[in-house]
């Protein structure tokens, strides 16, 4: 091991292969995004270097701040809906029992569908004319994709899609908690309620952080389902940052400015990772 790690040519060669591939397919686009943010470009004619003009425009762009608010509102809604449900279901499915096993089998099914499929399925289920809402009296007159309710609808459908994934994380984490801890607590006269607050929750903390990290970064940058269901509309009602940059670059040929929104999104995700990853048990161990 110790004989000249730097001079180990064979190892360096093995390592350079994936690194080169990764450099071209991932690092280059990341750098390119940052670089393009300093240009004016319509995607066809020559690029024009304009320094920080795009970044200045960002600060005065009300659509950008709107998209930022949408991204955060969507993320908050997704977190609030998904975390308690996934936590409860995960603990429930972690224990043995025939009903629990059967229920788990069906509850994980949504994981098998692509965001595209999920979006299309729910579009038809929620269709105001031919969908099912008509048969649920309190929801009869609701248009789930109207300007005022579209974002909530998207958060609910996203949660339907991803709660099973987070349930899986909590299920595995709960199964890892030693039984003896609970037995000891019950011997000391603690009830189930105390055991939940003083044993289960503290021990699931790393998983709660991991799961929250995935929800936050995933929702801030979610594109597929939103694109399929609303394309960012009606108007700008569901245009989050990724949809906004797509609209800028691929629909109104503001490629340079779209890249600026992309660079901002990358920096935002980096900052959030910096904040959250260090505290997360599972992810934290990876860099220790």
């Amino acid at each position: 091991m110790l004989r000249g790690t730097m001079r180990d040519r064979g190892l360096l060669f093995l390592y350079s292969l994936p690194l080169f591939f990764y450099g071209f397919t991932v690092l280059l686009p990341i750098l390119g995004t940052l670089l393009l943010s300093f240009y004016r470009w319509d995607g066809i004619s020559n690029r024009e270097w304009i320094g920080l003009a795009n970044w200045g425009r960002l600060l005065g762009d009300e659509h950008f701040f709107h998209a930022l608010r949408i991204s955060f509102a969507f993320t908050l809604a997704a977190w609030v809906i998904q975390t308690p449900l996934a936590l409860g279901l995960g603990i429930y499915f972690a224990r043995r029992g025939f009903f629990r096993q059967v229920a788990a089998f069906f509850a994980f099914l949504p994981l098998l569908f692509s965001s595209t499929a999920v979006g299309i399925i729910w579009l038809y289920i929620l269709d105001p004319n031919l969908g099912i809402l008509y048969y649920i009296p309190p929801l009869r007159s609701l248009n789930p994709l109207s300007e005022s309710s579209a974002l909530v609808t998207l958060a609910l459908v996203t949660s339907w899609q991803f709660i099973p994934f987070h349930t899986l994380l909590y299920q595995a984490a709960y199964q890892g908690i030693p039984h003896e801890l609970y037995e000891a607590a019950y011997l000391d006269g603690a009830g189930e309620w105390d055991a939940f607050w003083h044993i289960t929750l503290p021990l699931l903390r790393p998983t709660i952080i991991t799961s929250s990290f995935i929800i936050v970064v995933g929702s801030l940058t979610y594109f597929d389902l939103i694109w399929v269901m609303t394309q960012g509309g009606p108007g700008y009602a569901t245009t989050n940052l990724p949809v906004y940059l797509y609209r800028l670059a691929f629909q109104s040929q503001n490629v340079g400015y779209g890249a600026t929104v992309g660079a901002f999104l990358a920096l935002l995700a980096l900052g959030l990772s910096w904040l959250l990853i260090g505290r997360s048990g599972v992810l934290g161990r990876r860099w220790s």
Partner: protein
Amino acid sequence: MKEAVASATRILAPLFVLGWMAVSVFPIYYIAVTSLKTQADYLKPPPWGFPTRWTLENYSAVLESGFLHYFFNSVLVATTVAIASVALSLLAAYGVVRSPSGVFRVGLYLFALGFAVPAQATVIALYALVRSVGLYDTLGAIILPLTGFAMPVTVIVFSNFLREIPPALFEAMAIEGAGHWTILRHLVLPLSLRAILSMALFNFIGAWNALLFPLILTESPEVRVLPMAVWAFTGQFGINVPAVMAAVTLSALPLIIAYVFARREILNALRGGLV
């Protein structure tokens, strides 16, 4: 009081889970049953009712609209991404674990960077890059970035895994004169087979379901993959909703079959090594 909450939870939990099960399954029941209806039946309320005449005509309509071609495109893309990402990531993880210094340490930080930066943020530069190297509108244009963006998490999972192998095993082989390839083939590969399969499956599913990269990097029907095809069907079939539902069902069928027969493996893979 506390015990009242606890016992109420105990009684209500199964009821709640039953309700949740219904919410999980209903949409899947809905697409399956709708895909077997005629258009006339689809318009008859209630939407969840059984068809008056069961029919497979929607499936044949979808198959006649080039579905198999799109299906094989998806198989090709997802398989290549799964194999390439796992092979490249295993090499990278081996480098990181066997020599955690200098270049290798910088490399790990670069992979961490790719883990934190979402692919969605970089699509514009990616589009420009793919155009400039002449790959636009090819399956390669989808395969290369999907493989690259699958690497960070795969490298991290593999590095964690390889760190668990006792260093003495590596050293023993090295002392006997084994090169890196031999160590990879006869020590690393057999020991990490489960992790490899799991991550290959995880990346396969990710590629199978990806929409954004195909959306911006391809346009012709020849290179259409399933998510794009299903989405295109919604426009093409228009009001023929049963046909759209048949397309959705067919696109999800391989994973559902795999889930029914290999539930444990699929769920392990879906966790993506996060546990």
